[in-house]
Amino acid sequence: MSNQLTTDPSKSAQRMRAGSMTMTLMPWILAAGALMLMPFIFTSSSALTIMNQMWITVIFALAYNMLLGQGGMLSFGHAVYAGVGGFACMHIMNASDFFASFPLPVLPVFGGIFGAGLAMIVGSFSTRSAGTVFAMISLGVGELIAASSVIIVAFFGGEEGISGDRTYAMPFFGNEFLQQINVYYLTSFWVLLSAALMYLWSRTPVGRMANAVRDNPERAEFLGYSARWVRYYSFVASGFFAGIAGGLFAINYEIVTEENLNTASSGVILLVTFLGGVGFFFGPIIGAIVFTLVQTVLSLQTELWAFYAGSLFLATVMFFPGGLAGLLMMHVPVFKLGKAKLLIEPYFKTLLPAAIGILGLCALVEMTFHFRHATKGDNEMTLFWTTFDSHTVLPWLIALAVTAVGLAIAKRTAPALKEAWSDANSAGEVS
């Protein structure tokens, strides 16, 4: 029994459990600090734009995860609630008398109310069942509203959408939100508030029951809870926060179009949330940050970024259904056992060649794309900071060799990694 684990407060990993109040508050304080300091580190206006986009996606992804992760409801039309919230905010912005009667930071609340209102109507028939039927209804309703946005011009503004001016609101402590940085702090405030509220929601009995209904609806019904109503509450709350994200979008970009509520946007938010990981509260946050970065950085580099994003998504679904957050949390037991250093070497040996191999594969894909689709006579292409002729054999050979060698090494060292992983996850001495 010498290998039995006991709680030893002197060890740092176990001391963390004590003082639960600081533990639960700590991430929020850190997040608030990070949000405050970010504009001082990344000062350029494009960085501010990216960050605004990121925080809006964070709220939306967290709202989406209230359905997918916590409630087990897969929605293919959730952009509709954000979009309708955005449109409502835009109409309020254009109603000058009413808009001048309150400060701008309050505006997203209206977006939330409209999003929740729509969710109340749709949810009344869509939350009857979860799973496939719910997914189908969400898709149909999403398509319906997206399609009517072109017909109902009075509310959705047709194809060009509607635009407004955020500066007509009542000045907020003398601030009229003329500059991007002001909007950044407004968005940051809302991302922190909404994330905190959504976290608290997940701790309430309603949030807990949503988990129960997700895992075993029959048993929840036997305990006296109506699975349908539990789903309905989650759905409406999720619609509310999605509407807030839409309102922030309206404030940030001052234009809302049909693109905000079509199926493509709904698909993107599913991608973001699943990539981040649906099993943990912070998963969608990671997903939103990573995806926005990948989108902005990669789309500048290559036309094929959607192809890579799709492949990454499919690989996540097939091999890491926990997403990025799941991957991170897999390592918590290893750290608690204090065996993290066992993993460093195998990780280095396997993941580095694998990454190189995958980059080689990407190079092959890019070269094929260039070979097929570049204009005639344009044989030069630039890849990984080197310019070469894509119609000669040598670069193909190099890319092929890099890919083959990288993946082969990764395949050879993978069993060692697996072994190290199981060693690192078992308590006691390494055998």
């Binding site: 997918l68 189908m136 398509e143 998504f313």
Partner: protein, 318 residues
């Protein structure tokens, strides 16, 4: 009266095309309990493969070979993708097929580019079969009707009259029992998935020349197909047929008869308001039926879900 006949034929073509897709989809659903989001993507792949083959070997070889390739691809997706994801539950399976649909669209754009392919009706069928009151009916439409009806008959025969069909039907309802009787149920599932996607491939081959072969073709038809099987009742083959024809005729008739909403309102006794500019319902007054033809299936679906959640012919209350 003559126009009605033309519309009936047009609606029949659309409806039968929809049915070719929804039949496979609904079979796969009743088998695995999962909607294949990528189903319309296989339809698109069918069209593209047939186009590529038709350049070298002509349309007819394309019609023969492309669905087989698509079916093999579909079986491969089931074997190496879905079966792996199956252990995580239904929602990841749905997400997997959704991701697959995205990836196939990107892949098609990667290989063939974003433009529409010049995939044309074969010369043999490029003539007018007959004309109804001055409206000519192309022979290709008649050909489409015959192909789809033929496939439906074949499917029905195989499913209800042959031994293989019996085993499939049994495996749909009681997979465990069928397995313990010595049949290879995973193989049956893979086969049904392959056949379902091959059917979608056939639909793609024959629809490609008329509806256009472009990367968005899966997206255009995809969601309508889901709507169809929801309306017909998830998992019901006859329901899929009824719903496909219903949607086909509904959209065709809505497009060809220019009914304005204001006429309907006037007919039931509500008069058109004088000043339209400030009226918040002004869009409702000016809506015409061709405008809303494409969203009619969705409206129908929402109605069905509210009043008859199991679908028109669906039995299971899921």
């Amino acid at each position: 009266m003559e126009l009605i006949l033309v519309n009936i034929i047009d609606g029949l073509v659309t409806g039968l095309l929809l049915f070719m897709l929804s039949a496979g989809l609904t079979l796969i659903f009743s088998m695995m309990g999962v909607l294949n989001f990528a189903h319309a993507s296989f339809y698109m792949l069918g069209a593209y493969f047939a186009y590529q083959i038709s350049i070298a070997l002509g349309f007819w070889m394309g019609l023969l070979i492309a669905p087989i390739i698509v079916g093999v691809l579909g079986a491969g997706v089931e074997r190496y993708g879905l079966r792996r994801v199956h252990q995580y539950g239904h929602v990841p399976e749905l997400i997997f097929t959704f991701g697959l649909a995205l990836l196939i669209e990107e892949l098609v754009q990667f290989i063939w580019g974003k433009n529409q392919m010049p995939f044309n009706i074969p010369e043999v069928l490029n003539y007018t079969a007959f004309s109804v009151a001055g409206n000519s009916i192309p022979a290709y439409k008649i050909f489409m009707i015959f192909i789809s009806v033929g496939i439906f008959m074949g499917l029905l025969y195989v499913l209800t009259k042959t031994r293989v069909g019996m085993i499939i039907q049994a495996a749909l309802s009681y997979p465990r029992t069928v397995e313990s009787l010595g049949h290879n149920v995973p193989l049956i599932f893979m086969g049904v998935f392959g056949v379902g996607t091959a059917l979608a491939g056939v639909a793609g081959v024959i629809a490609g020349p008329v509806l256009g072969t472009f990367p968005g073709m899966a997206f255009v038809l995809g969601s309508i197909v889901f709507v169809t099987i929801v309306i017909g009742g998830l998992g019901s083959l006859w329901g899929a047929l009824v719903a496909s024809l219903l949607i086909g005729w509904l959209t065709t008739f809505a497009k060809s008869y220019n009914l304005a909403m204001s006429d309907i309102f006037n007919a039931i006794g509500i008069s058109t308001p004088e000043n339209m500019d400030d009226n918040i319902f002004r869009d409702l007054w000016t809506v015409t039926s061709p405008q809303i033809a494409d969203i009619l299936p969705y409206i129908l679906m929402v109605m069905i879900l509210i009043f008859r959640p199991a679908g028109l012919l669906g039995k299971r209350e899921s």
